[in-house]
Symmetry: C2
Subunit: 295 residues, 2 copies
């Protein structure tokens, strides 16, 4: 019987060890300390775990995906650091700890975000990544990730999120926003894992579909937790979306319909995995976890 | 007789055309407009031109280096956008135009910088780059550039620049700061060109040495211009370094010694090029231009 808790714990350890192998834990450099402050703040490691699980789902060796998975976590963390800045979301607490610009200062937080984004590409092009992977495959992965994280992906989602504050959106607009803001990097994580695991074109496309569903489900769940989550469990304040006039699924379609929508997305995600064998069980379990999580 | 003005004009055109081929000039998206605002603000294109000139110097086809050269300009521009932010240098004017956060707003400027940095890696891993280049060579270039731009290179230089404000530095510290802040990306530009032009290991190392000299000369000249340059010609205010208590070469060793130091660096750079034939004439002319420039 597959145990998701054990799986997540093992993969988290793998990722955390690899991250600390890349960045010197004992560094006294200010930027490095700021990078580590946010990178090692107890994140869920969802994107790297999805990457490793996708490699496994197509029958690949997840060891080959560890460095690219770390790069994905760096990009996710950079995006959080910059989103939290006073000029953007002005958040002071993240994962129960002061955000980067609160623990250090704004200038350092801007630079630490820039540094994590840049380091992601350094890691993706480093010999430890290259050893067992074809250069062409790594270039493909760099392309997938940079495209997803860029101005037509995650960054455009963040820009829309800011521009739309206080404006009433339709359901399709809200879905479109989250597809960009959260969905693209989650999909890129899974595609990266599938490409590195030598998945077939069909497998990669199917896992891309799976990713679209769980990416949106993840955001719907986030919106739900922002209303009824426990701040102590989440390590961040609740109710902040309403305060800011953010467009959320509960505000737009109501709490019950939001919950039903999240469940539907997960069931769609599971359906896409029907052609996969038990090696995709971690991806199946993660899909269910996403709508049940408390933080 | 080699004419640097004609050469720079031609290469600038090549780079500008390629940049507008990558980013949609007519886009109405806010982040895209902010990226273009800073990217097309009339920069010198020093880094991409050095990249192309290095490819030529080792006998390669500069056409292969155009996309990577654009990526270098994107990274340079992102670093300027973030440096100009209120939390860092708080500059309102750059190249005679309002800086990105003044023309747009802080949030947009942060995102536009992030987007240019990310796009650089998208371009480096794109099919147009890949067509005539080996994937392994492109990975090497991505590694050279990300390392130079990262937390142990350009970003550390920026952090030091902030931390050292108002403190009295020694000459070696000041050199070290500029080596990181400006030198690493200039060196990466030249190494990138040399690698893509299939230069020998010895040629790449020699051009790396050349780059170290002209990178520092460039900064010394910048410091000199900040004291005695014409704000109208430069498109930015003069005297700002003194106002901020920045450590500069003129402040530390005096104006005359600074000018002599810049000349010495250029003559060292030219000496390194002795083993190169006339294909390195652009690099020779650029070295001299760097200490004569008025902006």
């Amino acid at each position: 019987m597959f145990d998701l808790n054990v799986y997540i714990k093992e993969k988290k350890q793998l990722i955390n060890d690899a991250l600390l192998n890349i960045i010197d834990m004992d560094s006294t450099d200010r930027v490095t300390r700021a990078m580590l402050h946010s990178l090692m703040a107890g994140g869920k490691r969802l994107r790297p775990i999805l990457c490793l699980a996708a490699t496994e789902a197509v029958g690949g060796d997840p060891a080959n995906s560890v460095c690219p998975a770390c790069a994905l976590e760096m990009i996710h963390t950079y995006s959080l650091i910059h989103d939290d800045l006073p000029a953007i979301d002005d958040d002071r607490l993240r994962r129960g700890k002061p955000t980067c610009h609160v623990a250090f200062d704004e200038a350092t937080a801007i630079l630490a975000g820039d540094a994590l984004l840049t380091l992601a590409f350094q890691v993706l092009s480093s010999p430890p990544s290259i050893n067992d992977l074809s250069p062409l495959k790594l270039l493909e992965v760099i392309h997938i990730i940079s495209r997803a994280a860029g101005y037509q992906g995650m960054i455009e989602g963040q820009m829309q999120d800011i521009s739309f504050e206080g404006k009433q959106l339709g359901l399709e607009q809200l879905k479109g926003l989250h597809k960009l803001k959260t969905g693209t990097l989650i999909e890129a994580s899974i595609r990266t894992g599938a490409v590195l695991g030598d998945g077939s074109t069909q497998q990669i496309e199917q896992l891309g579909e799976y990713a679209k569903h769980i990416g949106l489900a993840f955001q719907v769940r986030d919106d739900i937790l922002n209303v009824e989550g426990d701040p102590e469990v989440m390590g961040k304040a609740a109710g902040t979306d309403i305060d800011r006039g953010k467009n959320t699924f509960p505000a737009l379609i109501g709490m019950e319909k939001s919950k039903a929508f999240a469940k539907k997305l997960v069931s769609d995600a599971l359906q896409v995995l029907e052609n996969f064998d038990t090696k995709a069980d971690p991806l199946r379990a993660i899909a269910s976890y996403i709508v049940d999580r408390k933080k």
